[in-house]
Symmetry: none
Subunit: 219 residues, 4 copies
DNA sequence: AATGAATGAGAGTTCATTCAT
DNA sequence: TATGAATGAACTCTCATTCAT
């Protein structure tokens, strides 16, 4: 459950100067992740966080400027964490369609394993809009680049990659919400298979229903 | 901008019995929609709402049980409003792919015209999760039914319609966020065209990359 | 001791709309005057004020925006109170020197009777500097006008009345501090007599020390 | 502006034993003078002081017992500084009226050059009342002695010198506030001239309005 | 002598909700 | 139906001070 303890980086704000300080700071980050994730930003309280972290109330303000500041730190951290997780599972140089499948699979697994933390990202839209936008804009840009590269390699059809990136992110996010956060009973593979079919071949019939079947050579 | 005044229904809670009462209740709903949309649930205040509605503070509780109650009423109302708007623009019996195009177009237009109100729906996830789930579950069910019917009619390929429904909703929502709420400068038609291409034909090359390049007709 | 209950005006901020409201507001003003006067601005607490006023904590903020706001209200109020007190005792149309005597006498009596309240005015310099300046600037202007009028009437010698006004105010304030706030054992009349002698005739010998001692009648 | 570094004395509290210690202590005093002067006692913070002094927070308590302690040290120091400055400029043995003029001139110049530090003295009334009283009592006593001596020398009229001392100090303080701290645009000489005229000759006409107008030479 | 992490009491302020009128 | 005064729990944040290193 110790979802934040494996943070390699300790996001800025007010850095600790001693080892003890770093430990305390991390305890606070972990406790905050838990509190925010479980109760939401507004229901979470600083005193709850410090209680969970086993430090005095004032200690919080030694390391963070405000409730919002630690929240932002966590959102930014999640950005790295999500990307790292997915990148690791997608691997370096697969073809795009395979990467999509692996990416969604990794994403769903990630959300299932970090439900609370992911909730926090979604709530950022209403607490730290700029951090939220940054999170998805960064993601979208990388996505777009990957799509463009795949087009260039002749792996996928050409298209408006920016829109595609946002559409694909939206899919993942909603599938994550529905099949990871709300109900994780279905095997990720099934979700992935269903979505892959959609994203790869679309809804349309391969040979679109022709009025006059004879005329058809193809689309 | 009087977005709520044309509410036909006045959602439950505490119905007004007199004409005067109905007017007051509607003033409160409108004011609340504006306040919640502009400032978010937590930053909005009852006193802000009553001030905007030009009634005394106590009057609020004549018509609504709590801050959350009026918020829920608005979320539910939005559900009807969105669906009505889209249904009207998609029309009765088009083929599914066309309906998808029209539906997304209508959705983007709707969000662009009701930015604040739509924000409120998204925030529901953190304020009234059940209302939020209901909102999307209802949507997803209808969506699923439509897809199933289209499959039955032989209009689209078969597939796991539940997943498809959530994926397609996610696309719309994210495209709405990106191209309606954050930046509405691009013509909706372009977004629709780009997404349609994706949802209809997918990313994969029409003739999937053949082992033997000779066989390819186009690439 | 009920020093503020005889306030006729209730300074603005957030006016009460009902009789009950006015009463509550005045209770708060009285309690605040006492608290600020006795403990000083920083040591005084809102909860102390509301406790003394016998209302709930939140009630304070129904009538005042902040701790500073009620403090300012009291400073401004003191300005009126002081002036009214003195004006009443000096009477309408005496000659200037007599007015000075009566004014100082009234001032010392006022400070002796409103020690705490007067302390509050002095502290304003460090809490609400603008209110403090306004207080003395207003006073100084009136003073200056009176001096000018007296000069015009041939009652007193001509001179730079602005400087005179500030100097005379300074005298009064310090004598008030020393002989009213710190130690009120000496009869006001004696202080007044001593200061009048100074302000009327100055320190210099009546016949200024002549080069030629013969001319001196007394020394 | 290094106003405190030339402190010869380092007031008690906790003396430094090493040269390094003395330097640190002085850095703290200087930083505190600046912080208190600029922001006032309550808005100033120990951490602000140590930051300005470029030492760690804990170091403060090596040299001073408390925030109030260092404040007091500065008030006492100011007492010496003010007196020294004025004494130097008034010189040893002038006649009293001339000394008054020179004294006020020196005082105004001093305040103009040490605005912040002087502010600190005034605030002492609300932070360290005893130090404040000591400050002015000491001043008043010296003043009184000077006046008595001048009376004895036949330089000035006899009168109640204690009251005179407080009155004259009040004048100076208020003129300093008005013409040094709030607005220093007017030449000190003009202020001094105007006040000297008042303190030397008073307000009254030289030949007080006689019953028998014939005797009047002027007015 | 110097450091800086840790403390925790206490402050001002907000605001949904209640209730007497 | 409408009012608006009153409530008080709960919150975030500050900062002088202590103490182990």
């Amino acid at each position: 459950m110790n979802q934040v303890s494996n943070m390699r980086l300790a996001p800025p704000n007010r850095m600790a100067k001693t080892a003890r300080g770093k430990i305390t700071r991390n305890k606070l980050l972990e406790a905050a992740a838990k509190e925010f994730g479980e109760m939401g930003f507004h229901a979470a309280s600083i005193s709850g966080i410090t209680r969970a972290a086993n430090v005095a109330l004032g200690t919080f303000y030694v390391y963070f400027d405000s409730k919002e500041a630690i929240f932002r730190a966590l959102v930014d951290y999640m950005s790295h964490l999500t990307r790292a997780w997915i990148a690791e599972r997608v691997g370096p140089s697969t073809d795009r369609l395979d990467a999509e499948r692996k990416g969604l699979q990794a994403f769903i697994e990630f959300v299932r394993g970090h439900r609370d933390l992911y909730r926090l990202v979604m709530e950022a839209q209403f607490v730290a809009d700029d951090a939220y936008r940054r999170y998805y804009n960064d993601f979208a840009e990388a996505y777009q680049r990957n799509l463009a590269a795949a087009v260039a390699r002749g792996e996928i059809r050409d298209g408006k990659n920016e829109v595609r990136a946002w559409a694909l992110m939206g899919m993942s996010v909603f599938l994550g919400l529905r099949y990871a956060i709300w109900d994780d009973s279905q095997p990720a593979e099934e979700i992935v298979a269903a979505m892959s079919d959609l994203t790869e071949h679309g809804l349309a019939l391969r040979d679109p229903p022709a009025k006059n079947p004879k005329k058809r050579k193809r689309g």
